[in-house]
């Protein structure tokens, strides 16, 4: 592949991620691609961190998705900058801290166990169901809504449909569907009293913040819209990756069964090797030169997380999956001020899913012949349930 044809949305990148971002391969370092109207790709670790670490020089407000959804609204809080961005995040940070999300562990565990029980019995089961049910439940509980049966359909349409110009009207219908869904939720919203348990994310968005400021109706809906998409899609990718790896690498599965302490580093290695989000963009505010590449004011710079996570200068033998990898400061959840707000919740979902699966079905295996894909059915056998 030629560098100017680099496209993080292409089937090659998505279905052959290890080869596409292989260390020493063509799309490494910093370079310009012509895909999707053109952008500068920051594909090495140090450059990505320096761009992501300068949110005033490289802004998110102009749009971070390449290509965008095209619904002419901001994805909040992600597509905002400066003090506005800080104020948006501050509303939600405490509710998504490691300690706060731990409160949801029993609900998520029950969801995983129920989903596994429902799959048990058949020889071949599609464990992608697990990757979809867990984030759907976790996102619904955190937001404070009943999961909409249509939510996944809408979100899939947005995420994949935006890549296909012919699907534009379908994408806009899906976006409108989500906005109308949340308009109805907010019309009937009953704020939770403190005595009834921790505030749900929508409670925190509806209330005035610590300085007495309220979100406008549009800002409120823009937050709901994006929190739903972010909570579902990216976590489903991550869970599917964990399920795929565990079910195709018997040695790694055995290592975790022998020593459950290795589950956490294993999950970090999954996040590094199968980064759910390949890249997000910033818009340069000034003419600049980054790592020898000229960037003009207004140019988009793609933070290529999947590339940076295979940077040999930071991750020796970077394309090797190493359950024991000691230093693993990957940027699968981004870097800098826009670090994924839901990362603690996502890690909790990953840990519970992997731990419960291994605990209940230690012989779990993916059916033969299923190579890496980020999404779609994943046929597997759960195997005999472990004796209690």
């Amino acid at each position: 592949m030629r560098r100017n044809e680099f496209d993080h949305n292409s089937p090659e990148a998505r279905d052959h991620l290890a080869e596409y971002y292989a260390p020493g391969g063509s799309p490494h370092g910093v370079f310009r691609t012509d895909s999707w109207g053109g952008c500068v790709v920051a594909g090495d670790y140090a450059t990505l961190r320096s761009v992501a670490g300068d949110p005033a020089g490289y802004r998110s407000g102009p749009g971070v998705l390449i290509p965008p959804i095209g619904h002419q609204r901001r994805l909040l809080p992600m597509e905002s900058d400066g003090v506005e961005h800080q104020a948006f995040r501050r509303r939600l940070l405490a509710a998504l801290s490691p300690k706060a999300v731990a409160h949801y562990e029993p609900a998520i565990e029950a969801t995983v166990v129920d989903a596994l029980n429902a799959l048990e019995g058949d020889d071949d089961v599609d464990v992608y169901a697990l990757a979809k049910i867990v984030p759907a439940r976790a996102t619904a509980v955190m937001l404070g809504i009943e999961p909409s049966p249509q939510a996944w359909q809408w979100v899939d349409t947005l995420v994949y449909g935006r890549l296909v110009p012919a699907r534009r009207s379908e994408v806009l219908r899906a976006a409108r569907g989500i906005y109308e869904f949340f308009e109805a939720v907010l019309r009937n919203w009953e704020p939770r009293r403190d005595s009834e348990g921790p505030a749900r994310l929508i409670d925190l968005l509806v209330r005035p913040d610590a300085h007495g400021n309220r979100l406008s109706r549009d800002e409120l809906l823009d937050h709901c819209f994006f929190l739903l998409i972010a909570g579902l899609e990216n976590t489903a990718f991550a869970i599917r990756a964990v399920l795929w790896h565990l079910g195709t690498h018997v040695d790694d599965r055995s290592a975790l069964l022998e020593d459950p302490q290795k589950v956490r580093p294993f999950l970090e290695e999954c996040l590094r090797m199968y980064s759910p989000v390949h890249g997000l963009a910033r818009t340069s505010q000034e003419d600049a030169v980054i790592a020898g590449e000229e960037v003009r004011r207004g140019d988009r710079v793609l933070l290529a997380f999947a590339g940076a996570n295979r940077d040999e200068t930071v991750f020796p033998d970077a394309n090797h999956f190493d359950v024991q990898r000691r230093a693993n400061p990957h940027v699968a959840f981004g870097s800098g001020a826009h670090r994924c707000l839901g990362s603690n919740l996502a890690r909790l979902e990953l840990r519970i899913t992997a731990s419960k699966l291994l605990e209940l079905f230690p012989r779990y295996q993916v059916a033969p012949g299923q190579g890496w894909h980020p999404a779609g059915p994943l046929m597997a056998t759960l195997g005999t349930r472990a004796a209690v």
């Binding site: 961190r49 405490a94 801290s97 490691p98 670090r339």
Partner: protein, 64 residues
């Protein structure tokens, strides 16, 4: 060994508190808090290095 935490660089990845819970905590918003300002006890030195090596923001330094 002593640890240094640059709170200005911390964005709340929370890797340190997971890897070295005896040395780090997080505040209400999820940003790291250093618990041990004096010499790190010898038995925790490996955890201290681990936390520093895994911070995606390079916000933790261990000084021998």
């Amino acid at each position: 060994m002593r640890l240094k935490l640059d709170r200005d660089r911390c964005v709340g990845h929370a890797r340190c508190v997971e890897l070295a819970p005896a040395l780090f905590d997080v505040d209400d918003e999820g940003f790291a808090v250093l618990l041990v300002h004096d010499d790190v006890p010898r038995e925790l030195e490996s955890d201290a290095r681990l936390a520093a090596e895994n911070c995606p923001e390079g916000a933790i330094a261990s000084e021998e």
